[in-house]
Assembly symmetry: C2
Homo-oligomer: 492 residues x 2
């Protein structure tokens, strides 16, 4: 392992960038704004995918795959959606390269291979999917359609950061079609709930469930439901969204069904997605100045075992004992790595597993072998303790549960400390500027106020929380009457 990380307090943003690279999660590529997700980072994504995919299937969704490209004429059919994404579309205009006549060995775009109609690389798939659904839906018997897609999408963002905002990213996008408005709304809320459960139960990342203000809605949605998390620098992260699309796409693409009563109706729809951005949220929620901290449920390696030895004989003796423990841990479904590489020293390995956020690290040396002991270190608190070898499996099993809980509780505490209720704009500015975090304030419901607050403080309305009670008050900015607080924060 190389030099230490920049500390969070010194430069949070630099800390993050260094951590992503040093923990071997991802790196920038030769393509502007696109990242390479390295095996260790991708293994976290696979764990996320497994859990989410299971949750989607348990609620009756199926996976499918739709084309990467969207013909421009389909892309522009739902106007708001098109307008929202037009500025960041990668566009394919040609389908062939040819040898450069002036530069042997070099290639140029073949001007004779211009497409009749340009193809947009999907920034999201509503257009191509709703154009397809038109052929699938005739009668009420064809509904609901509940499909999810795991895919890559491209949004040509100007300022990019590994995982948090990249020109290409991986995500899942659900696209459902329903006979009634209520069924579509229920689906939208169900998926928001699934995202919230996933965030809290697996990522140990608490989220606020809420609905977006009109200006922060997905382009083409009637309502956008969101889960919002709070990072350690006091900024919010939109971690997943679920959109109630009304009949907007059904109308744009003329998707109708014949009801039981024989009437022709436009169908109702939803879409919802989470992306590799979640990995950015996971990193920023738990990690510290020593490196990544991973919740055990999403850690590719839950336990790393490092032998401390001199010579092959000692290693053999240690390995024998360790292999027993490894096989017991595996039986319990715990993923464990016995790192007996002779190309690296134990201290180097300790630093590596610390940087990579492995929840539990075990060290065992020749002295331990004599005493029947070993040392167990937990990554979240950095506490080390010696145990008897025979209790190791049980201790580790309990520790993994404890670490998962501890990380969630720590994050909950942080959020509680960093959620401020304010009733004046002075308090508002004070909280946003000096303390950070969520600020719960009354708002008059107008876009003008929202815009002005944003301009002055850089804080945006993250959401109108679903569990906030009605409460009479006055807008912190305009003084106009308000019936409910909303959550503001600076955001990623």
């Amino acid at each position: 392992m190389g030099a230490k990380l920049t500390s969070r307090s010194a430069d949070y943003s630099k800390w993050y960038n260094e951590l992503v690279v040093k923990a071997d999660l991802a790196e920038n590529s030769a393509v502007r704004g696109c990242m390479v997700i390295k095996p260790y980072g991708y293994a976290i994504w696979e764990k996320m995918q497994n859990e989410l995919d299971r949750m989607f299937k348990e609620t009756g969704h199926e996976n499918a795959y739709f084309p990467l490209f969207v013909p421009k004429s389909l892309f522009e059919a739902e106007e708001k959606n098109a307008e929202g994404f037009a500025k960041e579309c990668a566009v394919v205009t040609h389908y062939r390269l040819k040898t450069d006549p002036d530069n042997p060995g070099k290639l140029i775009v073949d001007p004779n291979a211009k497409l009749e109609e340009e193809l947009v690389v999907r920034p999201t798939s509503e257009a191509i999917i709703w154009n397809t659904y038109r052929g699938w839906v005739q009668s009420y018997r064809d509904l609901p359609i509940k499909i999810n897609q795991w895919a890559n999408v491209v949004r040509w963002e100007m300022r990019t950061r590994l995982f948090l905002r990249t020109a290409e990213f991986l995500w899942q996008e659900g696209h459902t079609a329903h006979a009634t408005k209520q069924e579509a709304i229920d689906e939208t809320l169900q998926m928001q709930q699934i995202y919230a459960e996933f965030a809290e139960s697996f990522m140990a990342m608490p989220v606020v469930k809420g609905v977006k203000s009109e200006s922060e809605r997905f382009a083409g949605a009637d309502d956008t439901y969101t889960i919002e998390a709070l990072m350690q620098d006091g900024k919010a992260l939109q971690a997943g969204t679920s959109h109630f699309l009304g009949q907007n796409f059904a109308k744009a693409f003329d998707v109708k069904y014949t009801s039981k009563e024989g009437k022709q109706e436009h169908v109702w729809s939803t879409s919802w997605g989470v992306s590799t951005r979640l990995i950015g949220g996971l990193i920023m929620t738990h990690s510290d100045d020593y490196g990544l901290v991973l919740p055990p449920k999403l850690a590719p390696i839950q336990v790393a075992i490092v032998p401390i030895y001199k010579g092959q004989e000692q290693l053999d003796a240690i390995s024998k004992k360790v292999n027993e423990i490894v096989s017991q841990l595996k039986t319990k479904g715990i993923s464990v790595k016995f790192d007996d590489r002779d190309t690296y020293k134990p201290g180097w390995k300790f630093a590596e597993y610390e940087m990579k956020g492995v929840p539990v690290r075990v060290a065992i040396g020749a002295r331990d072998l004599e005493n029947g002991t070993l040392e167990i270190a937990r990554r979240d608190t950095l506490v080390k303790q010696s145990y008897q070898q025979e209790e190791a499996v049980e201790v580790i099993e309990k520790l993994l549960v404890e670490i998962q809980e501890n990380l969630l509780n720590k994050a909950l505490d942080y959020r509680k400390e960093h959620t401020t209720y304010v009733d004046t704009f002075e308090e508002f500015k004070e909280a946003i500027e000096n303390k950070g975090g969520f600020v719960a304030a009354h708002w008059d419901g107008t876009e003008e106020t929202e815009d002005q607050i944003k301009e002055i403080t850089k804080a945006t309305i993250r959401c109108i929380p679903l569990d906030f009670e009605e409460e009479e008050g006055e807008c912190v900015f305009s003084g106009e009457p308000s019936h409910k607080r909303v959550l503001f924060a600076k955001a990623y």
Copy 2:
């Protein structure tokens, strides 16, 4: 279910196209040459992915993800590879759309958003990956790198067919880097072997393992190893390839390592891939004039149970019995669907599961309930038989194994019958034109002969089989001496 399929004997190609659509596997999209993979087709792909991914990981490979786009300057670095793919590259030239000033509501490509360097949508990822590996490899301790990627790729093919040849397709591509030539060759062969095992054990599709002639090699490879399957129309399908890339990409991208002895060496490499084309092969190997036939190991639904009833009371009684059987089957890891939809009649359901290739179909009616019986039909032979309800689970379990074996044996028999050894060009033409299948013939090893045979007969050298013995003979075309037979066939 709609009208019947065109029969294979009447029009094989039409039969295939109809089957893919009627079995609900895939359909053409609004994007030329790109398909929509529907949930049932995608579920087969997921089953394939699960098995292959397990096999890759068991042999020490990790997944990662590299960018969709390849800057043109990187794409052209390995000249043979670039030349091989240049003619079918989708190219991104712009990164923004804007409102058409002449056509409100329409969008045009923003001419001010032209990329400085065009981006090729990956047709394969060697270039972007080897450019990345340069940063990962310094010393022998960084080797081997054994990475796989699940991804979409785009090759702008002119004539496309669902699954078999599409402009965009899904695949996995392995890219490995090694310190020695031998290790890279071993890896190449290992992956070919894994593909062959997967094809035979899971797809029940026998394959010939061989090496490609020089003219059929992957662009940029020193050797291409292949698995070749035989379809029911006597044409061969290249089902998977594993390439020994020598030091070609390491040299093009300057990827060197310091050996234990302190010397700087270029690394050795391989790449290997299988794609959604496998689904086309699966369909064509087993299906019949009634629809899809799936091997149980890859069937999304292994058992479909259809109740035959009048009124809710009968359905309730049948459901009670069926639910017992369903839960027992699930305990054994058998995927089962109890189709109690009241919107379709039993006959319609039978036809649907036949079309969709569900290996085992169970029917149970009111009379069965009285007699303690049920009817079990197997999809491969279409044989139906009545059984006692208490033996149902055991019978089904055995049947699934039997069907898997039977499909492989049938395909093996077909291949045996359609592999012809010829010693003259008359025999060669006769076999290719009238019988179809593989033709094993002596070849003089020259590209000229290969080209002329192709021009006259449309047959190509599928591979030089690894298990063919050395044997003295004369080229069927030129009469020149030859030491080994090779396999010819018309191919997809």
